[in-house]
Amino acid sequence: MNDTERIRTTAQLMRDVKEDWGGITKTQLKAAVEAMDDYLIANAAAINLVIPLAARTALTASQKAQIMGYVAMRRAGKLRAEEDG
């Protein structure tokens, strides 16, 4: 993401997640977003390799990113499935 996208991600994160941010500042929160994004960029190839071959070759980069996003959202308690009732 470019800097504008990272700024907007940080902004929307603060709007959506109504939880105590542990006393950090906006700048520190944005730095966390940047670090996470940097990590994804640096490890994109490795992340791609953990996907089983069939899916790795069949799926687009966007679909793989969405899988990662859904997994992360579920792990963060932010993704509710219809099966959850």
Binding site: A11, M14, K18, E19, D20, G23, T25
Partner: protein
């Protein structure tokens, strides 16, 4: 000389078509809490109109009481500015009236409890030629992008009350 005191509430605020704080009401454990939730990233503003009865002279004091929605540290920058029209004297179009230059204050979250109540005071020295009996618009904004000073508090700053005071005739 005494002061004139005017209380303004979140419920009494007016807004432009965009960039305004959301009116929120939280059903607290024992009582409801109403407020205006100012965004952490986008500058947002709310407006109040009042009559400056018995205004004598001097600066206008604006006390803002607020609390943090999700933060427990950091700084918030509040801005206040006035527009004043003297009825029957000023020929100014009320719908196109401009605001005087803003004044601001930076307030720091005091920690310990995230949603504790804070207060800060903005001394408005740019008075737009304020006179007794003027029709006044007060604009209060959060300087979320830190134009005037560092606003680094995460999450919304929720304004719960505004107290305007000035020297009385």
């Amino acid at each position: 000389m005494a002061n004139v005191n005017i209380q303004l509430t979140p419920e009494g605020a007016q807004y432009l078509g965009s960039a305004f704080p959301q009116f929120v009401k939280t059903n607290g454990t024992n009582n409801p809490v109403a407020g205006l939730a100012y965004d952490a990233s986008t500058d947002e503003a709310a407006f109040w109109r009042f009559i400056a009865k018995n205004y004598a002279s001097g600066n206008v004091s604006v006390e803002i009481q607020w609390y943090a929605d999700t933060a427990s540290s950091g700084n918030v920058v509040w801005e206040a500015q006035l527009a004043a029209i003297t009825p029957d004297a000023d020929s100014q179009d009320v719908e196109t009236d401009g605001l005087a230059t803003l004044n601001y204050v930076q307030d720091t979250h005091l920690g310990t409890t995230g949603q504790r109540l804070h207060k800060c005071t903005i001394t408005i020295s740019n008075l737009d030629s304020l006179a007794d009996g003027d029709n006044v618009v007060l604009r209060i904004a959060r300087d979320a992008n830190g134009t005037n000073a560092t606003d680094d508090m995460t999450g919304d700053a929720i304004l719960v009350s505004v107290h305007v005071s000035y020297l009385s005739l």
